[in-house]
Symmetry: C2
């Protein structure tokens, strides 16, 4: 492990990365049911990703595994004959854990470190089994939509932390995969920490690191529910509260301060502290807004939008890079030039 | 990708690696049934690995996933209270693909390269999905036995080839995992090739690279069947033939020549060419013997033994490092000093 921050690879793109997408854990799993994928949502999310990456053409599946109850695999090589090589996806997918991994991590305290304790070591192993199970299912779902997805565990890629902050990230592996036309699929993972032995590296922190290095055109956070409440983005108060207002555009300044650009309502305190706006008891939305603001400060537009809606499709397609349409629901966070 | 052979990390062990184990694909999967694990064999193999790594103590499972048909997960944190930290495993596991991955790879020709062809790219994705599915199941099976296993895909670890020979292997990730007391579980994988775009990196080639760098005390290949025939090791002719003789000890000399030390039979040509002894039409055993000889030349004892037998347990425990007991069935390949 490295003592200091080392990004072994400086990205020198021949063609810019288009988009980094975060699939929120709550959007793709059933949060209240242990290790249960929300298959319906995941299917829509993957379909929208395909429509955003590969605008035309038929779907030619890339998961040739045996399906339950079917003895043979389905793969018709002739389907590929009239396919053009699609090399312009340039998307990276990062997903959260949702109802995978959290139980194992919290039960053992992996985030607090202490790999010399048998319980923590076992929890590290159990957490990785759970999150890599989810990763494999997401890679499969993307591949079924014809997206050339490749699973990449941060732990296996050699990502590590120092005092829970990213210490070492070798992005050459991710970069090589993108250059070869694949869509890397990363995830929150248990990793080495050179001060406390181990910790949990969250999907949101991974997104920020990737954004800083790969400089995508835009970043999309696909969210779903907060405290059982359906959300469309970031609000001025807990969305469960009456009269909660969806913040449609937030501008982040060079000094880190930010202001609400839309809606231009008199009763919104434009300098609301993030901690006030951050209404998720699990820390999910707070972390998300904070990470989003840091990404926006790099000059990269960030959308926070409800997964599997017409709004998320528009965000994934990059339709919100100019003016925000009145009929679009979500939050755009931008750098104020 | 790198143009020349680059091993980014020179291993400098504080404590030597004890053993690298190859779980042969045919030993842990049902070779004639697509993507079907041989659960019974895998369970015995994992149990023997536990007995070899952790000689005493009760089994405390590390796979806390939800099991089919059971709504809750089983994890009793109190079980870990009286556990001592077991840090002396120093094993690395590499497994083959068996009935996973081969279909997808051969259907698309991933080993021949050409990632710009849609079929090859899809095959690359499909192959990785299949082999990582198997890897996850093996990691789970090891974890259930209380072995702190962590899955590591060569592709994600940044391994790549050049003209199908290993070009770049970053062993620091594997090394860090071992130092933290984990048992890395690698596998044959689809990887980048800087000449032909992509190829298949076999488990046997991975073993040789790991052996050269990690310098284990011994290497064990767990095999099973060849051409439907139950095998115990390497024979002087196809094991299906009448009077095939099990070669119990082979010595490899500095110049690469080798001779049969046991049994001391008159009718065995001690200089039999490997290609004569290599009787597997799929190339499996031929590649294995050739890789085994190269490992032995490094001064590392290699055992080829039938998986899930009393003989494999003795091999895994390192009992064959001195004289080979008369009642042991298998093949030991040693460097002739």
């Amino acid at each position: 492990m490295e003592a200091s921050n080392q990004t072994k690879h400086q990205h020198n793109p021949t063609k810019p990365i288009r988009c980094i997408v975060k699939l929120g854990g709550a959007a793709i799993t059933c949060k209240n049911e242990l290790e249960q994928i929300n298959g319906q949502n995941l299917e829509v999310v993957c379909s929208q990703l395909r429509q955003s990456m590969i605008p035309s053409g038929k779907v030619v599946g890339m998961d040739w595994s045996k399906r339950p109850g079917i003895s043979d695999v389905s793969c018709n090589v002739h389907e590929f004959e009239d396919q053009l090589s699609v090399d312009s996806h340039k998307f990276v997918v990062v997903h959260g854990a949702g109802s995978f991994g959290h139980f194992q991590a919290s039960k053992s305290g992996v985030h607090k470190g202490g790999l010399d304790q048998p319980l923590v070591k076992a929890g590290f192993v159990a957490t990785r089994i759970s999150v890599t199970t989810l990763n494999l299912e997401i890679v499969r779902a993307l591949a079924r939509e014809g997206i050339p997805s490749v699973g990449m565990s941060p732990f296996s890629c050699g990502w590590s932390t120092s005092g829970r902050n990213i210490a070492s990230t070798d992005l050459s592996v991710v970069d090589n995969a993108i250059k070869s036309g694949f869509v890397p699929v990363l995830h929150g993972d248990a990793v080495h920490d050179n001060l406390q032995g181990c910790t949990i590296l969250s999907g949101d922190v991974i997104i920020r690191q990737l954004a800083a290095d790969l400089k995508p055109e835009y970043v999309v956070f696909l969210v779903s529910f907060i405290d059982e409440t359906d959300v469309s983005g970031v609000y001025d108060r807990p969305p469960t509260e009456l009269n909660a207002v969806l913040l449609r555009e937030i501008a982040v300044a060079e000094d880190g301060s930010w202001s609400v650009m839309k809606p231009a309502l008199q009763d919104i305190n434009k300098q609301v502290d993030f901690t006030v706006a951050a209404h998720d008891t699990t820390g999910g939305m707070e972390a998300k807004i904070s990470e989003a603001a840091m990404i926006a400060k790099l000059g990269i537009d960030v959308c926070i939008v409800q997964a599997a809606t017409s709004h998320s499709l528009r965000a994934l397609r990059g339709e919100l890079r100019g003016n925000i349409p009145d009929d679009w629901l979500g939050t755009v966070i931008r750098f104020l030039k």
